[in-house]
Assembly symmetry: C2
């Protein structure tokens, strides 16, 4: 894999030393993805220069891989003919992605060079909600008739395939464009030439509606190992397909988004080093503010038990351990639940099974930690506690009863909150560690002081 870095370094050397014919040969050997990585580190002038050196068949493929800033720079500098060449080679789904990111005047210029057919499709796809199957589908797929022979089907693919995003999965539709079957090029190639498509095709095709969530579509790729999945409208008419490469992007983006939300970040679509200081600040500050303000309630709880604490200052020393352990326990559970929800492993209907499991795990974890901590307190903290004038057995009892109880509370809160969030239409990923921590912190202190007051008579 380090080849691709070496290729980029070499290309940069050739550009800097103005060896353009060598650069052209070098770029011709490189993958469009690597070319685009190389281009995106250049200045505007170098970018345009290097892009113009590209072999024509790589230009569009490279253009698609670039970030929107680079694309915008190029579109603005392109001559009409250059723009036409690139735009003509775009698939509709890529054109939509590009257009969504561009300012209106650039979009206008791009649309001038698309055919009216393509323009209609672009407008069609732009109408679908951002997270829908429709928004990620492509309309360039191979369509076969059910009475084709295998030879006819292959001939059809050979004559029309050049403009299709994938030719490997072909769809069979009736006169009303209703999806009636699916057949792979593999099946076609391995069949006799005179067999009929209808006899070979799969009829029970897994399909999605244009308004289904794109995450569900992507999960189906993970589950079924498909190369493409058809997208239909309410009347089961075939409108487009989603291909596996787009599904991989969705799966990766969704995982990143979940991870960011779980860490109290507003998700960003840009890579870390391409995000500015101010943008990163905007991603981070809302949750920090909210959580800071929430944490002051925890402070209020401590204040309200101030007089009790003054009577037994040694209790203060165990607050961080109790709060951290409660937060970690709740975080473990909530993250497990959130990821399982994303992967489709669990559902709201499992809530009682989940709570019952979490209760038993929490008791096991609580007892283990309490026993270890009791031992530790008796061996290491004994002197400190009794020098404070306290009975070390009672203090240890208070601390470890609290430990056990808060772990149980934390694990139940950690399982119920994400499920409830999903149920009422919120994003469960937000119900992860930072949020759970704030809640269980407060709960653990309430338990702590109540147990202390009861057992120590403060």
């Amino acid at each position: 894999m380090d080849n691709s870095i070496q290729d980029q370094v070499l290309a940069l050397d050739l550009l800097k030393s103005k060896q353009f014919s060598k650069l052209k040969a070098q770029l011709a050997e490189m993958n469009p993805v690597d070319i685009s990585d190389f281009l995106m580190d250049l200045s505007s002038e170098e970018l345009l220069l290097a892009f113009r050196i590209l072999p024509k068949d790589q230009a569009a493929a490279t253009f698609v891989e670039m970030d929107s800033e680079g694309q915008e720079t190029l579109i603005k500098s392109f001559s009409d003919n250059e723009l036409k060449d690139v735009v003509n080679d775009l698939f509709v789904d890529d054109a939509v992605d590009i257009i969504e990111e561009m300012p209106a005047n650039v979009v206008k210029r791009v649309l001038r060079f698309t055919s009216s057919d393509t323009r209609r499709w672009i407008n069609e796809i732009l109408k679908y909600p951002e997270d829908s199957a429709g928004s990620i589908m492509t309309v360039e797929y191979v369509r076969l008739k059910k009475n084709f022979t295998v030879d006819e089907a292959i001939a059809h693919i050979r004559s029309t395939g050049i403009d299709k995003e994938t030719i490997y999965t072909c769809y069979v539709t009736d006169l009303n464009n209703k999806l009636i079957g699916m057949i792979s090029v593999r099946t076609l190639l391995l069949a006799r030439g005179d067999e009929i498509v209808e006899d070979l095709m799969e009829t029970n095709v897994i399909r999605f509606n244009t308004h289904d969530d794109k995450e569900d579509v992507a999960n189906a790729f993970d589950k079924y190992d498909f190369m493409a999945i058809p997208v239909v409208d309410e009347e089961e008419r075939l409108l487009g397909i989603v291909t596996f490469d787009d599904a991989i992007d969705v799966l990766q983006d969704e995982a990143t988004e979940d991870i960011e939300k779980m860490a109290a970040l507003i998700p960003s679509e840009k890579p870390y080093l391409r995000t500015g200081i101010y943008e990163t600040w905007k991603q981070r500050i809302p949750w920090l503010l909210l959580l800071m303000v929430s944490a002051t309630f925890t402070g209020k709880i401590i204040s309200s038990f101030e007089s009790a604490l003054a009577g037994c200052v040694v209790l203060t020393a165990f607050i961080p351990m109790l709060m951290d352990t409660a937060g970690n326990s709740g975080g473990q559970t909530s993250v497990t639940i959130i990821r399982s929800l994303s992967l489709g492993d669990i559902d709201m209907k499992d809530i009682f099974r989940i709570m019952w499991k979490e209760l038993r795990v929490a008791i096991l974890c609580g007892l283990t930690l309490a026993v270890v901590n009791f031992g530790k307190m008796m061996i290491f903290d004994r002197a400190a506690i009794s020098s404070d004038g306290q009975n070390e057995w009672y203090i240890a009892l208070v601390v470890n009863i609290t430990l056990c109880v808060t772990i149980i509370i934390a694990k139940l809160v950690g399982s119920v909150l994400p499920l409830t969030a999903k149920k009422i239409g919120f994003d469960p990923a937000v119900m992860a560690s930072p949020f759970i921590t704030t809640i269980v912190d407060a709960l653990s202190l309430l338990v702590y002081f109540n147990v202390a007051q009861r057992l120590l008579g403060l």
Copy 2:
């Protein structure tokens, strides 16, 4: 998508009411993945019964999708002929996956029914380290000669393709089996029949070595949108290929693993509801124990400032807010860095750029939070502070200087630790919120008490 659930419910009804011919027709219509979901909820007897009803061409495909418990149950109950049928239809990579999970006596029985060729390949693949490209590759791919015409190549695929995991990407090797090119079925189908493979093939093929990390291979699929990637040995000889469906599994598993590690969990390979209480406890208790013990150091810091605290008890009330905010700030950064490392967006060489960025973001976040918190303290906490006999301006100053300083520390620690972990060969994902929280908790208290002693003269 709800169709697949309905299909499974219908199949269960038919099984329970012993309508076996209807069940057979129903299963014939279902996807092997859904059949396996249906089978895994059955008792052992029902499982064997239902599996025997399956059309023969679906049996192996369904078997592959089942979990290892179900597979073991079936293998143990199969007659020799049944086992032979299933084993013969397995691809080598699937056979390896199954064998890795089975007890020795079951493996023995399976291997008795594989050809000596397959057995040799299985043993070969089992030798590769668990996380290597070699361990997830398949050896069943299409190999072409460079002097084939397109027609000859297509004829070759048609005659040999049935046993190949994918026929869509074909590889061209020389007499020593060295990989010299790659050609897709799309290119073949769209070319003239008399063109020569050598003139059409891509020669600059992105490839991996058998010992490369499987995560790097999977990331290449995300980056380049390939359907398959070839795996070679040190001498560039082609040994196998990795297909996109296996890459999706690796990407999803790695994301889940990262998420679990970030939440202080020992990763598990099983879905949540299929993991037992004791197993879940084992996943969670090691980190909880370690973090609990570490948190006691934070307690020690509080104890050692006990006398100072006794002189200004109101300071205690701000401890949870300071600790939580520091933990959240550090967690945000570490999680961002960990995910960016996983996605290959950043690298150790970026460390100074990253620290410089984090420093500036931290100052922005710190100032914002300090200003808001200062206002809040002046408006809401003023009475409480002065009733404690303290100067509210000084207290607010101590709290908010600490807030600002700890956020800077937290964000620097949160960026440096994952990068350092990666550098020295540890898993960066472990350096996430819970671990960072424990460290920055201690640091924030040290800052707090030192600032307090200096400004308040405690």
